[in-house]
C-alpha cells in the first residue's frame, strides 16, 4: 500500500512542479499581448512560451496528475496494492524522459509549433520524440489500470467493481483510444519527416489524426474531476452518492461519446465535406448527456447532505453545506465555471454558429473556463484530499486551501470573460502582439488589460497552492485515515455485466469510430496528390519575426 502511495505522490509532484511555471508563462503571455509594457517582450519568445504552456498543461500536468490519481484510486478503492507496480515505475521514467526532451527542445527555440503541432510547420525531431515518449509511456499506465480491474474481477466473481475503479478504467480506455490519433500522427508523419525519411507532409491527414485525439483528450483531463464529483464530494459534504448506476452510465457515455466527435475542431477546414462535419456535430451534442447526468447526480448527492445538516425548503440545503471543506467549495465553484464554459461550448460545437468564433479568443476562453477552471480546481481539491492520506501529515490549512480556490475562481472569471467578448469582436488566438494604433484593434485594449489582472490573480493562486502542499508535506505526522469513497444511497448488490466491464462498449466505440472517421481518414489515401513540403521553424529569440 505504501508503495502505491509513493507512486501516486511522485506523479502528483511532477504534475504540480510543471504547473507553476506553466501558469507563470500564461500570465506573462497575457502581458505581452496587452497594450502594457512587458519584460522580455519578444515574439519568438512568445511563441516558444505558448508552446511550452500548452505542452506543459495539456500533456505533462494532466497526464501525470491523472496517472497518479489512477494509481491512488486503484489501490484504495480495491483496498489492495497495485499489481504491476514495477511496470508503473518504468512508465514514470519513460514519461519523465519524454517530458525533459520536449521541454529542453522548446526552450532551445527549435519547437515553436505549439502543442497542436500544426504541420506542415516542422519542429526539431527531439520535440516530437519527447511528446511520443510522454504520451506513449502513459500507455503503460493504461495497461496497469485495466489489469488491476480485471484481476480484481477475477478474484471477486459476481461483485460489482467499485465505482471509482470502474471510472478510472473507463478513463484509461478512453485515453488509449484518444492517444491513438496523435501517436499515429507522430509515428507515421511527423517523426519520419523530422528525421528526413520522407519529403512531403500530408498535412490534411495529420490534422485529421490529431482531431481524433483533440476532443477526447479533453475528457481524459476531465475524468478525475468527474470521479471526484461522484465518489469524493458526497462524502466530504457528509452525504451519500445519489446513484451508483447513473455513475456507471455517465462514465460509459463519456467513453463512447467523446471519441467520434473530434472533427468539430475541423469544421472550418476545407479538406472535409459537410456530411461528416454535420454527422460529428450531431454526435458532439450527445456528450452533453453524461455532463448533464453528472451535474444532476452531484447536486442530488449534495442535497442529501444539506438536508441532513438541517437545510429546509427548496434551496435551503445549499447554505447548509459545509462550504469550509475544500472539496465542497471546489465542486460549487467548478459547477459555476462548468455551466458558463459549457454554454460557450454549445456555440463551438454547433456546425454553423462555430463560424462566428472559430479560432478567436472566445475558444481560448471556453477551454480555460472548462479545463483551467472547472477541472483544475478539482485537481486542487483532490490534491488537498489525498496529500494528508499519502504523507500522513494533515493539510495546513483548510482555510488557506479555501482561499486558494476562491482566488483561482475569480482569477479565471476575470481572465476569461474579457476573452469571450474580445473573441466576439474578432480577436484572433495565438497572436504575440497587436497593433493597438489600429482603431479596429484599439477597442479590444481594455479587455486585454482586464485579462492581465486575472492572470496575475491566477499566478498568486498557483503560488499559494504550492506553498500549501509544501507546508503540508513537511508538517508534523498525525494519524490520518486512508482515502474513502462515497457509497450510493442504495448500494448495488449486483450490476449487469454490461455495467461492470467495457467489452461491449469498446465494440461500440470501434463501430462509431469506423463510421465517423473511416471515410474522413480513408479519403486521403485515394485523394489526388495533396501532400505539401514541410516548412521549418527557426530559432529567433533575438530578432523575433516582424513586429
Amino acid at each position: 500500500m505504501q508503495h502505491s502511495s509513493r507512486l501516486a505522490l511522485f506523479h502528483y509532484w511532477v504534475a504540480f512542479a510543471a504547473f507553476l511555471p506553466a501558469v507563470l508563462l500564461g500570465a506573462w503571455q497575457m502581458l505581452v499581448r496587452s497594450p502594457l509594457p512587458a519584460p522580455l517582450d519578444d515574439s519568438g519568445a512568445y511563441y516558444a512560451s505558448v508552446t511550452l504552456h500548452g505542452t506543459a498543461m495539456a500533456y505533462v500536468v494532466t497526464t501525470f496528475f491523472t496517472m497518479g490519481f489512477g494509481y491512488a484510486v486503484a489501490a484504495t478503492s480495491l483496498d489492495r496494492p497495485i499489481r504491476g507496480a514495477a511496470a508503473a515505475w518504468i512508465g514514470f521514467v519513460i514519461c519523465s524522459v519524454g517530458t525533459v526532451m520536449a521541454v529542453a527542445t522548446i526552450l532551445s527555440g527549435r519547437a515553436s509549433v505549439l502543442y497542436t503541432f500544426y504541420p506542415p510547420l516542422m519542429a526539431s525531431g527531439w520535440y516530437y520524440g519527447g511528446a511520443f515518449l510522454l504520451i506513449g509511456g502513459s500507455m503503460i499506465w493504461v495497461v496497469v489500470m485495466i489489469l488491476n480491474m480485471t484481476a480484481w474481477k477475477r478474484d471477486n466473481p459476481g461483485r460489482p467493481v467499485p465505482l471509482p475503479m470502474f471510472a478510472i478504467a473507463a478513463t484509461a480506455i478512453l485515453w488509449a483510444w484518444a492517444a491513438a490519433g496523435v501517436l499515429l500522427e507522430l509515428l507515421g508523419i511527423l517523426l519520419p519527416r523530422a528525421f528526413g525519411w520522407s519529403d512531403l507532409i500530408d498535412a490534411a491527414l495529420a490534422r485529421t489524426l490529431f482531431s481524433v485525439t483533440l476532443h477526447a483528450i479533453v475528457y481524459f483531463w476531465l475524468m478525475p474531476a468527474y470521479i471526484a464529483f461522484y465518489t469524493l464530494v458526497p462524502l466530504a459534504a457528509g452525504g451519500r452518492m445519489y446513484s451508483d448506476t447513473m455513475g456507471r452510465l455517465a462514465f460509459i457515455m463519456l467513453l463512447v461519446f467523446s471519441l467520434p466527435v473530434g472533427m468539430h475542431h475541423l469544421f472550418m477546414d476545407p479538406e472535409h465535406g459537410s456530411g461528416f462535419k454535420f454527422l460529428q456535430s450531431s454526435l458532439t451534442f450527445l456528450v452533453v448527456l453524461p455532463t448533464l447526468l453528472t451535474i444532476f447526480s452531484t447536486c442530488a448527492s449534495l442535497e442529501i447532505a444539506g438536508r441532513v445538516r438541517g437545510g429546509r425548503g427548496l434551496l435551503g440545503w445549499i447554505p447548509a453545506l459545509p462550504w469550509d471543506e475544500p472539496m465542497v467549495l471546489a465542486v460549487g465553484l467548478a459547477l459555476v465555471m462548468l455551466g458558463l464554459g459549457g454554454f460557450g461550448g454549445l456555440i463551438n460545437m454547433s456546425y454553423a454558429m462555430n463560424a462566428m468564433i472559430h479560432n478567436t479568443s472566445w475558444v481560448t476562453a471556453h477551454f480555460h473556463l472548462i479545463f483551467g477552471g472547472a477541472v483544475v480546481i478539482m485537481y486542487f481539491a483532490i490534491a488537498y484530499e489525498m496529500w494528508p492520506r499519502i504523507t500522513g501529515r494533515p493539510l495546513r490549512s483548510k482555510r488557506l486551501a479555501c482561499a486558494q480556490l476562491w482566488l483561482w475562481f475569480w482569477g479565471m472569471l476575470i481572465t476569461t470573460i474579457p476573452w469571450h467578448i474580445a473573441g466576439l469582436m474578432g480577436q484572433p488566438r495565438r497572436v504575440a502582439a497587436f497593433d493597438y494604433a489600429d482603431p479596429l484593434i484599439a477597442r479590444m485594449g481594455p479587455l486585454v488589460i482586464m485579462s492581465v489582472i486575472g492572470g496575475v490573480i491566477l499566478l498568486g493562486s498557483a503560488i499559494l497552492l504550492i506553498v500549501i502542499l509544501v507546508r503540508s508535506h513537511f508538517g508534523a505526522r498525525a494519524q490520518t485515515e486512508s482515502l474513502a469513497y462515497a457509497i450510493a444511497v442504495n448500494p448495488p448488490e449486483r450490476v449487469p455485466s454490461a455495467l461492470n466491464g467495457f467489452g461491449l462498449w469498446n465494440a461500440i466505440v470501434a463501430v462509431l469510430m469506423v463510421l465517423a472517421y473511416g471515410y474522413p481518414i480513408g479519403q486521403f489515401f485515394f485523394l489526388k496528390q495533396h501532400s505539401v513540403p514541410a516548412v521549418g521553424i527557426t530559432s529567433q529569440f533575438d530578432s523575433g519575426g516582424r513586429r
Binding site: V113, G273, S282, H358, I487, G544
Partner: protein
Amino acid sequence: MAEQSSYPLRRPLPDGIVPEDVVARTETRWLLIMAAMLVFMLAIVVLTGITDSMHPSSNVEVVDPTTLHLQGEFVESNLGTAVETDGSVTVRIIAEQYEFVPRCVEVPAGTAVTFRLTSADVVHGFLLPATNVNTMVVPGFVAEVRTRFARQGEYAMPCHEFCGLGHHAMWAHVRVVPKERFADRAPVERMSCATQ
C-alpha cells in the same frame, strides 16, 4: 464536520435514506428533460444551418501549392476581385508567411461574394470579424466561403491560425463599398486596393 476529523465514517448516513423507487423516479424525469433539451438544441442547429444556409468551407478541392505562381487560378494576375457574368464577385487570395496577397480587397455591398483562398506554405486562417466568414486555409486545398455584405465598411482580416514566428504581422483588410460605386469602377481586369 469542519476541522476535527475529516470523515469519521465510510457511511455517514444509513442505507436507503432516499428510497430506491424515489431515486429511480427522479432519474427518469431528469432523463426525459435531458432528451428534450438535446432535441431542442439539435433542432436549432439544423434549422439555422438550413434557413441561413450557413456552411463552412467544405469543398475538398486540391491544388498544388508549389506551382501556384505558374499555373491555374491563383497566378498573380488573377488574384483580387473578379466580376462574374451573373453579377456576383469572386475574390481570390493567397495566404503565405506572413501576408495575404493581395493585402486589401474591395467588394460591393449587397452582392453575392465568393472567397477562394489557398496557402503557399503552411496552415493559415481567414476571418472577417462580425461576419460569418471564417475558414482555415490549408496548403494543398482551396477553401471556398460564400457571403453577402449588408453594409459598407472596412473589415480587418487577421490570420487566425499560428503560422510561424511572424504570425502576428499577418493582417489584411476587406473594403466593402456601395454597389453603385463598385459598378462605376467595375474592373475589366482583377482589382484590389492593396496599393491605395
